[in-house]
């Protein structure tokens, strides 16, 4: 080992270049992330309407949040509904489509395009389209249901059906998860299936013991991304309900309630408190998923 000495000219040059090249991100971190995190936490302890300077209020915002704002619990419940029901359904459907796409099909590129396009279609356009497709009287879905002898529900007009309607609409975008699964499926070595087949494993057993374990890191990735996305659910419901979260607050999701508090009621401090609660809830959920993933995610033989 050489004794410690002054940094060489090369080391100093590297430090200078390294910082210079990373400068955009360093600025980003300081101005758009670090300062805002600190400010947001401070605001959450203040009354702040964005016009007058913030006034210290201690834990008042948090107290109101948990004890006096029924809409906070409504919006949290609505959001958890999407996490508990919408997310698993979407994950399963996108995996199912990926499995279908992983067969040798004629016109594969066409299939992939049709399945994938809805997920990159502008959300505003998608939401307007589905507002019309799910129209209780004249919509496509209820017309088709009627043809097979079923009377469709009120979908977005009914407090009981509005969230399932949004989940249905979200399924149209399942192609986004599908391409990620598909890439994962195509990375599974064919020999594994051949070996399983020689051992007498049928299709179901191969799926259970080869496909699922090999795909588990991708499932984890889609689950985490879906989790974060579910807590941010906003644009669709803002367009469909014009920001009201109706009918009867049944689609008032957390991010929408927060937006309304901040930019409609100008209760910025309160909205910041909501944001911190959201952050904690997201962290707890992500942590729980990561903890459980040790038991169900398989990373192959290689050390990671």
């Amino acid at each position: 080992m050489k004794p410690k000495r002054r940094p060489s000219a090369e080391q100093r040059r590297n430090l200078r270049n390294g910082i210079l090249f990373a400068l955009p991100w360093i600025l980003h971190l300081a101005v758009l992330i670090a300062y805002p995190i600190a400010a947001s936490f401070y605001y959450s302890l203040c009354n702040y309407d964005a016009l007058r300077p913030p006034r210290w209020a201690g834990l008042e915002n948090y107290r109101i949040l948990f004890t006096e704002d029924p809409l906070f619990w409504t919006s949290l419940g609505n959001t958890l509904y999407m996490v508990l029901f919408g997310l698993p359904v979407t994950l399963v459907v996108s995996l199912a489509i990926a499995l279908l796409m992983n067969q040798k099909l004629k016109g594969m590129a066409f299939y992939r395009t049709v399945y994938y396009l809805p997920s990159i279609t502008p959300i505003v356009a998608t939401s307007i389209l589905w507002l019309w497709v799910l129209n209780p009287e004249m919509g496509l879905v209820n017309t088709v249901l009627q043809k097979v002898g079923l009377s469709g529900p009120g979908w977005l007009n009914s407090p009981d059906w509005s969230k399932p309607a949004l989940i249905l609409m979200g399924l149209w975008g399942a192609g986004g998860g599908m391409v990620i699964y598909l890439a994962g499926l195509q990375d599974i070595p064919q020999q594994l299936y051949e070996a399983a087949s020689l051992d007498g494993a049928g299709k179901a057993a191969q799926f259970r013991h080869v496909t699922l374990p090999m795909l588990s890191p991708v499932i984890l990735f889609n689950l985490i991304m879906g989790l974060i996305g579910s807590f941010q659910y906003f644009t669709q419901v803002y367009v469909i309900t014009k920001g009201t979260g109706g009918p009867q607050d049944s689609t008032l999701f957390y991010a929408l309630h927060l937006f309304n508090m901040a930019f409609v009621d100008f209760r910025m401090g309160y909205a910041c408190a909501m944001a911190w609660v959201l952050f904690l809830v997201t962290l707890v959920c992500a942590f729980a998923v990561f903890r459980s993933s040790a038991r169900w995610v398989y990373y192959g033989g290689e050390a990671r």
């Binding site: 971190l29 400010a39 356009a125 019309w132 990620i180």
Partner: protein
């Protein structure tokens, strides 16, 4: 003998079932698109006809002309394109610079800073939303495009991460050879790394473009002046104000979706490869 083996027959039946399911799914996914386009071509009377008309007798192409006059479509298009083009430029330049620092230069503090970058990806945007709004408002940037564009010039964590992973795959010997030839770090970035990274840079550009084209919350917060609205925002306001003009709404939505479809067709490989890289190689 083909067909005589029950196991093989079973497998073939399963295969047929699979391709049938894929076809049914295809129909289900395609139908809303069909409904979008066909509604935008219907006469007003047909839009509300019961039962709904699946195949209109006359296609009213003039609905597209009416819809672009009903809302200031071309103004919104211009605004959207300005934001998209500047964002793409900013994202590609800044993210590649930062990724170069993380992947190709060895300096103290680099690895902790990279960990911080990864951690920020878990941070919900709502946490920083209000102070960032405060900063941009204090700068007098409300009702300008700056709040929507400038952040792209400061790099995006996700794209920096993605480009770093890509730059790491380029052999270090190339940089060393260039250094021996007297190239500076900037020359290496500009003349060695960037030309070798075109597919990855294209992916960043593409996703930034689509993201900016589709963005709604940003314009909603920062653009109050109707003449500054983007297509997403303008279309949403159009719904709030004239909710019942379905054929015109669908025509405008079709027009807004069309460029995305065209871009997808031309850049399909970039898309699919980009998603595979970003989604999996971590």
């Amino acid at each position: 003998m083909s067909g005589g083996n029950p196991k093989r027959w079973g497998r073939r039946a399963l295969g047929t079932l699979g391709s049938h399911l894929a076809l049914i799914g295809l129909g289900l996914f395609f139908l809303p698109f069909y409904w979008l386009v066909i509604t935008s071509l219907k006469a007003d009377a047909e839009v509300f006809a019961m039962p709904p008309v699946f195949f209109p007798k006359v296609l009213h192409w003039e609905n597209f002309g009416r819809s672009v006059n009903y809302i200031p479509f071309f103004l919104f298009l211009k605004n959207t394109l300005i934001i998209c083009v500047l964002s793409v430029f900013g994202a590609v330049v800044s993210s590649s610079l930062v990724a170069y620092s993380f992947a190709r230069i060895r300096w103290p503090g680099r690895d902790p800073l990279f960990l911080v970058l990864l951690a920020t990806m878990m941070l919900p945007g709502q946490v920083t939303l209000i102070p960032v709004f405060g900063i941009f408002r204090a700068l007098g940037w409300v009702d300008t495009f700056y709040p929507l564009v400038v952040p792209h010039f400061l790099g995006t964590a996700f794209f920096i991460f993605m480009l770093r992973q890509f730059f790491l795959t380029i052999p270090l010997e190339l940089s060393d050879a260039a250094r021996i030839d007297g190239c500076s770090e900037w020359d290496i970035y500009r003349r060695v790394i960037l030309p070798l990274s075109r597919p990855a840079l294209a992916t960043v550009g593409l996703f930034t473009f689509i993201g900016a084209w589709n963005d709604f919350m940003g314009p909603l917060i920062y653009l109050n002046d109707e003449r500054m609205a983007t297509l997403s925002l303008g279309l949403q306001q159009f719904v709030s104000q004239h909710g019942a003009e379905w054929s015109l709404l669908m025509a405008a939505s079709t027009l807004m979706t069309l460029p995305i479809i065209v871009i997808f067709f031309f850049a399909q490989r970039t898309f699919i490869q980009g998603i595979a890289v970003t989604g999996l190689k971590g």
